[in-house]
């Protein structure tokens, strides 16, 4: 037997690939549940409270229902693309988890271009959405997918401005290294100008703060969340690109939306909010238990990501929706120029 197939190594890769999935599915279940609970609290309602204790099993029951549903394919639909689209969308958001540093010892693949990889792999989501809209043979779907495509492509530009600005500051595109730079001290986080930059940090703080806002807004747009949820604007386009989808295919779209929400929140947290770093040292260091540190890091990482997901939900249930031209205006007239100015400012500070 030759050495091409290395079983232990293969199993390790498989393990690394499966861990995000083990996170995404329970997360999506809980996120949907909490989205409903949060919306209920905001809207003066009770929310789901019948299935399981405090309604906790509601989304599980919903998923079971969706799995039992008849798999309907519209008669005019392009069957292959119709089937491929939800898988592609889910693949895009699942693959993004590979570059997320959950802790200093767990990261799917520690590639040097981690941030760029995340932005690039999200491009698959666009392709999936366009496929879905085109294959559905439905006018609402195609309008939703066209909106989505133009929106995602436009909002990648401010995202990339933020990323090159971060690159100018940290000289790193590896999410783990960027997280390492923001030590376990809240004052060294990205939003307060990374560690080891001396007095320049004070000059950088305003620009970094603005960049974080830009990144957060553009990630909202990339995940199709309110106020940028035009692709699935229910009051105009019924359900947008997934109008014709039902059952498990719809569930995949749903799952990928929530997976995406956490992925982009984790990106914001990794770049600006210290990633997996604790804001004030580790209990493991204090008690001299080294194995505790990575677990704590996972805790902080999830906490930061989930808090940002909570902010996304909060915004969704308080704000109206923009129109397509206004959405483009926000991107091209405000975010991109401001992002560009911040980038120039940061390069001047760093290299002059």
């Amino acid at each position: 037997m030759n050495q091409v197939f290395d079983l232990p190594n293969f199993l390790l890769i498989l393990l690394y690939a499966v861990v995000p999935l083990l996170f995404i599915i329970p997360f999506a279940l809980m996120a949907v549940f909490f989205e409903r609970k949060i919306s209920a609290w905001i809207q003066n309602r009770i929310g789901p409270n019948r299935t399981g204790y405090w309604g906790l099993l509601q989304t599980t029951a919903d998923i079971l229902k969706l799995m039992q549903k008849e798999d309907i394919v519209a008669s005019g639909a392009d069957k292959k693309l119709f089937l491929l689209a939800p898988m592609l969308v889910f693949m895009g958001s699942y693959a993004a988890y590979a570059a997320l540093p959950f802790s200093s010892i767990y990261i799917g693949t520690n590639i040097n271009l981690g941030v760029l990889y995340m932005v690039a792999i999200s491009g698959f989501v666009v392709a999936g959405i366009i496929f879905a809209g085109w294959a559905s043979d439905n006018k609402y779907s195609i309008m939703g997918s066209m909106r989505s495509a133009s929106q995602l492509i436009s909002y990648e530009i401010p995202t990339l401005f933020v990323i090159i600005s971060i690159f100018a500051v940290t000289q790193e595109l590896n999410l783990k290294d960027i997280s390492e730079m923001q030590t376990a001290n809240i004052l060294n986080w990205g939003i307060f100008g990374y560690a080891g930059l001396g007095f320049k940090r004070i000059l950088l703080i305003p620009a970094l703060f603005v960049l974080m806002i830009i990144l957060f807004i553009s990630t909202l747009a990339e995940t199709n969340r309110t106020p940028f949820d035009l692709p699935e604007a229910e009051s105009e386009l019924v359900a947008g690109f997934h109008t014709e989808y039902s059952g498990m295919k719809f569930a995949l779209f749903f799952l990928s939306e929530y997976a995406n929400m956490f992925a982009v929140s984790a990106l914001v947290a990794s770049l600006f909010l210290g990633g997996y770093q604790s804001p004030f040292g580790y209990l493991g260091d204090l008690l001299n238990l080294p194995w505790l540190v990575p677990l704590e890091q996972v805790f902080w990482f999830l906490l930061k990501g989930l808090l940002l997901v909570g902010v996304q939900m909060w915004m969704r249930w308080s704000l109206p929706r923009l129109r397509i031209d206004q959405l483009m205006k926000v991107c091209w007239k405000y975010l991109i120029p401001i992002g560009f100015v911040c980038f120039i400012y940061i390069t001047i500070i760093m290299y002059v």
Binding site: Q43, A233, P320, R321, Q326
Partner: protein, 377 residues
Amino acid sequence: MTNIIESKLKTDEMVLNMGPQHPSTHGVLRVELKLDGEKIVKADSHLGYLHRCFEKHCEAMTYPQIIPYVDRMDYLAAMSNELGYVLAVEKLLKIEIPERVEYIRVIMAEFQRIASHLVALGTFGLDTGAFTPFLYTFRDREKILTLFELTCGARLLYNYIWVGGVSHDLHPDFIRLAKEFIEYFRPKVVELNELLTYNKIFIERTANIGVLPPELAINYGVSGPSLRGSGVKWDIRREDPYSIYDMFEFDIPVGEGLAGTTGDCWDRYYVRILEMEQSLRILEQALDQIPEGDVSAAVPKRVKPIDGISYARVENPKGELGYFIISKGGLQPFRVKVRPPSFVNLSVFSEIAKGHMVADVVAILGSLDIVLGEIDR
């Protein structure tokens, strides 16, 4: 810019049928949109999906039997519909109405106006993508419906205002609860303003959209808040007072173009907010002045008017609602014709929707506040 695109790229127009099953056409309206990308070239509305032959049915029923059917026209403002119909029949009968009945009718009509406007404002928010205001307005509307339930047992379709009187006297607690509601409701309007009315995104979405110039509005016969949003001070309660509306003090708010142009969607929305405040003023006066009396004293045993015609119009929450009744002396009317405000208001839609985007269609329809039950009858 546009010229380059138009000359180089020949694109087809797309016909999009919005409705009759669509989340925001407010019922079973079908809007046939001719689209150039997202821009609207032509918008036609198609009606009739909810037609129930109301006017023909009336010819086979006695006058009091018609009242429940009247409820089902504008089902969000059943009390106001009843009031209009009953006024027309009473004109034929030439009967005197006890003062207490007049007060009760005004109180109910004004509560109904607030309830109807709350639905209009909430669903308008829903149309622009804001989910939460809708549930806030429904929470407050619920309290009004509870008051109605206390009075006559029904929450939506009341059959309460009868020819010559009302079906039940007010509940002993009604006046206290109504005053409590008024006190409760005033801060809620402020809350709604903070949440939706002055929201930057909401203003962006509705200001300068669907501008309805006053001349166009008058030419099309638009009435109610949609007309007043264009800055025309026209309110049947003031211009042609019916019941006892001439006894109360209230203002007629009109659109002033605070957020954009006068007569845009935001103005039509804002006029409704201001009108709720005026309704509260009328309610306060009516609740303080309401006299004692017998509410069924003037209810005739048999409604059998002599030959004649009558026309009565009332200011419904949606606009001017008119009833034209011809009597040939029998127990049943010879002909009943309704002038529904929603139907007339909708006619202006295709005129003002042109040149806007798909998302604006929804906003314009929401700002016109149509109810299909009334359009199709």
